[in-house]
Symmetry: C2
Subunit: 222 residues, 2 copies
């Protein structure tokens, strides 16, 4: 079983609940951090002392306080941790339920488990810890659904840029000009029109307004 667990969770109320539940169910040393930077620091220190963490349980969104932080999101945190200690196991424990985001964490960050906070988040988190300990990956029911959803469109960089400019109030002509100035292709007015039309089709949107509303709700242009 894991012998050293680190929990990264910024909200103190949640932090308290998670730590007490995990401590009780696993008889291991549980440590905690409320900031991403602090999490990195603890992981580095533990390695330095020759007693590294086995498992990181991390949230995805972190509050910013008055201090300067170099790392501010769970995504960045996980990338950084993987660089420092590639073998560490990671379970994401978060309120984020958007399929596109959950998929990308398994695809791009090779996490070992994903549990959505909710009515039964804690028992699921315990299950996740057990499963990951035995070398499996774990997905809670909600995230399992998300992973099995078909037609979860992933957008490429070009499309995200295009949508963001639309959301920022750029006209098609202005987007064309912007793309030309920044050497992004295709950049003709006409091609941008086509790209937008394709996105409208993909997301079953009748208007560009609905398109932007939809991708925004899906969390694809944050």
């Amino acid at each position: 079983m894991f012998t050293k667990i680190l929990i990264a969770e910024d909200e103190d109320s949640d932090n308290l609940g998670i730590v007490s539940a995990v401590s009780e169910f696993t008889n291991t040393s549980v440590d905690t951090a409320q900031f991403c930077d602090k999490t990195i620091l603890k992981i580095k220190e533990a390695i330095h002392k020759g007693n590294p963490y086995d498992l990181l349980i991390s949230d995805l969104s972190f509050a910013l306080d008055y201090k300067r932080h170099t790392i501010t999101t769970g995504k960045q945190l996980i990338e950084e941790v993987k660089k420092i200690q590639p073998a560490i196991k990671i379970i994401v424990f978060t309120g984020e339920k958007k399929p596109a985001i959950i998929k990308s964490f398994f695809a791009n960050h090779k996490i070992n488990g994903y549990v959505c906070k909710g009515l039964y988040g804690l028992p699921q988190l315990i299950n996740a810890i057990n499963a990951v300990d035995q070398g499996h990956t774990y997905t809670c029911p909600v995230s399992k659904d998300a992973l099995h959803q078909k037609n979860v469109l992933q957008l490429d960089t070009y499309e995200v840029q295009l949508l963001k400019l639309l959301a920022k109030g750029y006209k098609q002509d202005e987007i064309s000009q912007y793309f030309i100035e920044n050497d992004i292709t295709p950049n003709s007015r006409r091609s941008i029109e086509d790209k937008i039309r394709k996105l409208r089709d993909d997301f079953n949107a009748k208007t560009n307004i609905q398109l932007i509303y939809t991708v925004n709700q899906l969390g694809l242009i944050d």
Copy 2:
């Protein structure tokens, strides 16, 4: 001091943390519910037994499980509770930080305190309990900022309907038709154009796309 406190929070991890913190800091009976319906039930039972709750600490968003629930949001919950027991004190404890939403809770629901979950949510919640106990209202630093923000535009019902239809892909002609069919005025194509233009001005949006993106980000058309 309060003698009977009820906490409504659906996420078990958070629930655990809040209950243990509140129990520890106040030496009172703390009860908890994970669903809105259950919360209403407990409040009714307590009244029936002649021993009602003094204080409700409630989240705003609640998960839906497989069961049918009649009440599904914190907003509805608070409205219902106020009907049953108008004198009960209410503190909202939530992750929601959007100024428009915070303002509307004080303006329309006469809550006694608002605390945003975060790094120091629990000590702030304790402060809120003390303040409300002494007959004051309490706002945490984040929500205090929100309440003091100028230019937080509140939309009326008509505007919200209009924006929602736009977000759903309706053309201006279709919106006009919809309004005519549903006896909503003004409903001429031309007036709808004007209303949209006014909203664009209010939110400094160059296009309708940007308008919908903006109000969506502000949480005004949920």
